[in-house]
């Protein structure tokens, strides 16, 4: 089954997966998956456990070999690494401090000392870890450790980020915070991201495009193009803007109230719309044989001016 994500790509193809099949003895983990991922796309792969999504990512990351077909990431610009992986669960080295963990990728590619220092300090700052730089992982919470993992991947400054259910081991609250922070970080430099998750909710929150996979054998079911405009984030940031502005806005309480109300309202609307959309998507997943993504609800497309395009793959 070939899924053409977009018939007329505007940006260069960064990742090409072509008739990829992976077999572990008799088990077909990935069955003939083809997909092109454009540069700068936040690409999520959703599916139940055992659908081969992690295998797919490990193949992209060079940690597994292919049985047939190919999976290639375009060559990086000189001096930049091709990709970094953010793993599921604890993957930061317990024997290194937060600082040394964040510096690991740069050290492995023998970056100059000064460059390592600048990058590590920058990304520790961005991930809110500066205060914890000298601590060892056992002194941090699970959420903090996953931040270190994110800092380590971003500090390496790769062209592609491969993320394997990075937040699945976290509690609800931490997951939401880290999702928002990941988006915030991603917005600034728009790396190509491949994000594995089993949560439709998470995929819709984060991704531009979502590939839905089915289990045993792992097949690509659908690719959904989500031109979301990330209204959720917009609402979120105007809300936080309102909160930040709170102490300074003594002069204009009326203005403040307006911004605040607007933010809450827009957040609420987007939430409701998202929820409706997610429900339909989940229903189609449950239906299993359904060969495509749901069309977005009529009022959704109209009221939020969000465009959701679905391109359908056909089973062989």
């Amino acid at each position: 089954m070939i899924v053409a994500a977009n018939p007329a790509p505007r940006r260069p193809i960064k990742i090409r997966i072509n008739h990829l099949t992976k077999r572990f003895r008799n088990l077909v983990a990935v069955d003939d998956v083809s997909i092109d991922i454009e540069e700068g796309t936040f690409f999520a792969i959703v599916g139940p456990s055992g659908c081969g999504k992690t295998t797919l990512l490990r193949i992209l990351g060079g940690l597994e070999t292919v049985t047939s077909g190919e999976a290639t990431i375009a060559d990086p610009a000189p001096g930049r690494p091709q990709y970094s992986i953010i793993f599921q669960g604890d993957s930061i080295f317990p024997w290194m401090t937060v600082w040394d963990n964040a510096a690991y990728g740069l050290r492995m590619r023998k970056a100059p000392k000064a460059a390592i220092e600048t990058a590590v300090e920058h990304w520790l700052e961005r991930t809110g870890l500066t205060r914890y730089a000298k601590l060892y992982p056992h002194q941090l919470s699970g959420g903090m450790r996953q931040r270190v993992s994110i800092a380590r991947a971003f500090a390496n400054d790769p062209e592609v980020l491969l993320m394997d259910e990075p937040f699945s081991a976290l509690d609800e609250q931490n997951r939401t915070i880290l999702q928002q922070e990941l988006l915030r970080i991603w917005e600034t430099d728009k790396k190509t991201v491949v994000f594995i998750t089993h949560s439709v909710d998470e995929a819709v929150t984060l991704a531009d495009k979502i590939m839905v996979m089915t289990a045993s054998p792992g097949r690509a079911k659908t690719v959904i193009d989500v031109a979301f405009d990330r209204l959720g984030t917009a609402a979120g940031s105007s809300l936080s803007l309102a909160i930040v502005a709170l102490p300074h806005a003594v002069a204009g309480p009326l203005l403040l109230a307006c911004v605040f109300t607007l933010a809450v309202l827009s957040l609420f609307t987007v939430r409701r719309l998202n929820a409706g959309y997610i429900r339909t998507l989940e229903d189609s997943l449950k239906a299993g044989t359904a060969s495509g993504a749901p069309a977005p609800p009529e009022q959704y497309a109209q009221r939020s001016s969000c465009i959701v395009r679905a391109s359908f793959g056909s089973d062989p």
Binding site: G62, L63, S84, I85, G89, S91, F93, G105, M108, R109
Partner: protein, 281 residues
């Protein structure tokens, strides 16, 4: 009526509270102090009984010279520099043996942990040679290396090699595979993988191997020096036996015990520093 009332409540709220804390603290402190005193008391008590029994002629002082006599002999040997000389030469052999056996043990042990082919090649050799009593190969070592320094150093090296190598392999094998994946995903070279993942990950196990090796090293250095040396603590004990200088023999035994204690204290400190990243360290 209110005044005494408040006085009572004050007394209740402040004084007993602090006192209670004090009592708990003191109880714990005194318990710890008592334990420390007890741990000193048992060996000191034994020495005291020994001394008294010796003076009363209840034990044969030819075999069990009184502790005060041993201490006298010890200070005499310290003054003359004889004891220091033997201690230093023994320590030097132990140290060199540790380096000669320990460094290859760490390298080979970790390589065995990383690489399955190397493990398949080397592991049978280690399994086959490990059970041979190290003291039993002393004649063979003397044959090869002669009576010089090398034979003693090699004995220690062989002794420390096995526990360190075996523990290093086990240490690498228990490293969660995800850390090796991380190394590969960041394109760590073979040497970097060794240096930044396998070695630090296996270090807690390697430290256990080193501690086991230290005990073996003391046994082996004493045996090796008794048979094929003209210096060192083992030689000193052996020659004391030959000349029936029993007090001197005890000085040797006591010194070896002291060195063993010192080494394990030192290693415990080293361990605390090198694996401070462990949650329970």
């Amino acid at each position: 009526m209110t005044a005494p009332d408040s006085a009572i409540s004050k007394a209740k709220s402040s004084a007993p509270e602090t006192e209670l804390i004090d009592i708990g603290e003191q109880a714990r402190l005194s318990a710890r102090r008592r334990e420390r005193i007890m741990s000193f008391a048992s060996p000191l008590g034994l020495l005291l009984i020994w001394e008294i029994a010796g003076r009363l002629d209840s034990v044969d002082v030819r075999f069990f010279p009184v502790p005060s006599g041993i201490i006298g002999m010890m200070s005499e040997m310290l003054m003359s520099g004889e004891l220091i000389e033997h201690v230093l030469i023994s320590l030097q052999r132990i140290l060199l043996g540790f380096l000669l056996g320990g460094i290859p043990a760490i390298l080979i042990g970790i390589t065995m942990g990383i690489s399955r082919p190397v493990r398949a090649l080397v592991e049978p050799l280690i399994i086959a040679t490990y059970p041979i009593p190290k003291s039993a190969i002393l004649p063979f070592i003397l044959l090869i290396f002669g009576l010089g320094e090398m034979s003693k150093v090699v004995m220690v090296a062989i002794g420390v090699f096995f526990p360190i190598a075996i523990n290093a392999t086990a240490g690498v094998l228990q490293i969660p595979p995800i850390y090796l994946d991380v190394g590969r995903s960041f394109k760590a070279s073979r040497w970097d993988t060794f240096r930044t993942i396998a070695l630090p990950g296996a270090l807690p196990f390697i430290m256990t191997g080193i501690k086991l090796g230290a005990g073996l090293a003391l046994i082996l250095i004493a045996v090796a020096e008794m048979v094929g040396a003209k210096s060192g603590l083992g030689y000193m004990i052996w020659s004391a036996w030959e000349t029936f200088a029993v007090a001197k023999m005890y000085v040797g035994l006591f010194t070896i015990a002291l060195i063993g204690f010192g080494i394990s204290m030192l290693l415990r400190e080293v361990e605390r520093v090198v694996i401070r990243w462990k949650a329970d360290a």
